[in-house]
Amino acid sequence: MTAGTDIRDPLSTCDPASKMLEVRNLQVVYRTLQGDVSAVRNVSFDLERHELLGLVGESGCGKTTAAMTLLRLLPQAARIVGGEAIFDQRTDLLALNDEQLRDIRWRELALIPQGAMNSLNPMMRVRDQVIDGYRPSAGDTSVHKSEIVERAAELFSLVGLARRALALYPHELSGGMKQRVCIAMALVNNPALLVADEPTSALDVNVQRLVAQTLLDVKEQMGTSMIVIGHDMGLLAQLADRVAVMYAGTIMEIGPVDEVLRTPSHPYTRLLMDAVPEIGSDVKAVVTEGITHDLRNPPPGCAFQDRCPAAAEVCRTEFAPVELGNRHSVSCVRLGEFSLDDLWSSETSFTSGLSP
């Protein structure tokens, strides 16, 4: 960290309730031959220390793009158009140059990428891969070998892997074990913030539960703040402290997990929850198919207006978050003017052409 960008307030870092990350008006576009596609539109959220934020939404809603922007790991075609992301109350992640990024990435900001377990090098023992990025301090590449092995063993016990697994190659491990190796790898430098993209997809439910439990243990024991991207609502209900629901590049609702997922306030959150069949409930899953507006040309007003049965004239022009308190905000200007119950039951937009 160069002195110029270090604006850390020494007192605030000791305060456990302080902010880890403050994202404001994040805007990202993808350049295409047919024009710029807005993937992330004015996304703002806070992440506190020791907090786990779930980022949910359908594929293409911008959840992965938003998170990768924070790590500055976007594909070539993407461009950050605006916004800031203040990390640890001292650094704007979006304003760092390459050298500053190298210092902070993997040491303070770590990632468990999507399909991480398939990204291990088949020719290297997992131990060597876990410690490959070990940098106790910035720019330090000379670490003693015994210290390295000790560190790897520590991490393995944290993620519940046996010490003998250190010397194994990836093909000798099961999927769940490989995924836990990747978690250990991301934690090697004790990062303050960990981004995990679909950390348990493609795992069987028992193994999924074990990996989820590992993430919660890490949060508990190391105090890591986390952003977990996913589309399994049931899983995020187990993991997250707070949840942000994204649609077409915009956060529709963000708040405590119990409030957002169990008693949704936004029509889109409600639709998303109703589309997920839940075991033990005899409520039929809602089936709708809607066309999202052209992402190159987002209409003014609410992003969900084309699919929302409660959309009115005001929704075509206005869009603003409504604060409900308890760090819960809902981006619906008509909030409270209609009931979310039976919003979809009367008009099912999908017909299969079979109804007799």
Binding site: S59, V205, L210, Q213, G234, V276, P277, V287, L354
Partner: protein, 330 residues
Amino acid sequence: MSNELLRIDQLSQIYKVKGKEFVAVKDFDLVLADEPASIITIAGESGSGKSTVARVVLGLERPSAGTVTYKGHDITTLDRFHRKQYRREVQAVFQDPYASYNPFYRVRHIFDVVIKNFDLASSKSAATDMIEEALAVVGILGTEVLHKYPHQLSGGQRQRMMMARAYLLKPRLIVADEPVSMVDASLRSMILKIMQDMRDHHGISFLYITHDLSTAYSTTDRLYMLYRGVTTEVGPTIDVIDRATHPYVENLVAAIPRVSARWEGRVALADDAEFEIDPRGSCPYAPRCPHRHDRCTTQAPDGYPVGPDHRSACFLHDPSGATYESSRPS
């Protein structure tokens, strides 16, 4: 046999790996009635043998032991006429809707090939009518998709097109191997709804292969739970999930993350050495089972009745066997 569409008797599939035998499926039985059509789920985690059953039913593998009969004929010894009938009446939909298309052909090609091979239409316009009818069943307009290339369709659209392609042949049975696991959560319900519509209005039965019990719960009629090749529990889907009796199924159902409840307690996974266990001489779940007893490691349990049309392969439910006063810690 008059009212049986598909019958699987004592199906076993054994692979030889490095001179050792690996039992992928052991003594699997299944009966699918001709009328009314139904959706049968075969569920289990990776390595449970569920896809092996599907591959045998589709004729992609020959079973090591046991028989699969379709309308009373063994599918491995069909004559020309019955083989063609079987190929037409039993269709498949696979997991990856991206890998099912040739990227160089327009979407219409997948329908034209089927129409040509089975000589379904006499003219191009008759073929177009057939395709439109099949697409209507899955809620797609032909004019919107047929002229496009596969990469221009969404995952949900591609999977619905595969369902329409299967429907085109007016099949009696569709083997659907994980058809929704690569489709967005919000579109899964739609694919499941199409399966129900085909069952209720077109008399098409399904063998629905999945690892995700929540998609099977409210949509399917019967559930076969497999674990390491062994049928652990069979019955009406809702009964098996809500009133699981096999320790494996109980544990699995408890691990499904739900929005309405938090997980209780912690889980630990046993060592993978248990993969070595031969299900022919013991219960494959014994190494992890909290109710394990000596008998579980020396003998394979049968399916014991635990409710109406509901069986469980666990000695806890053996009406003749010894009951255990206390369960041994594992």
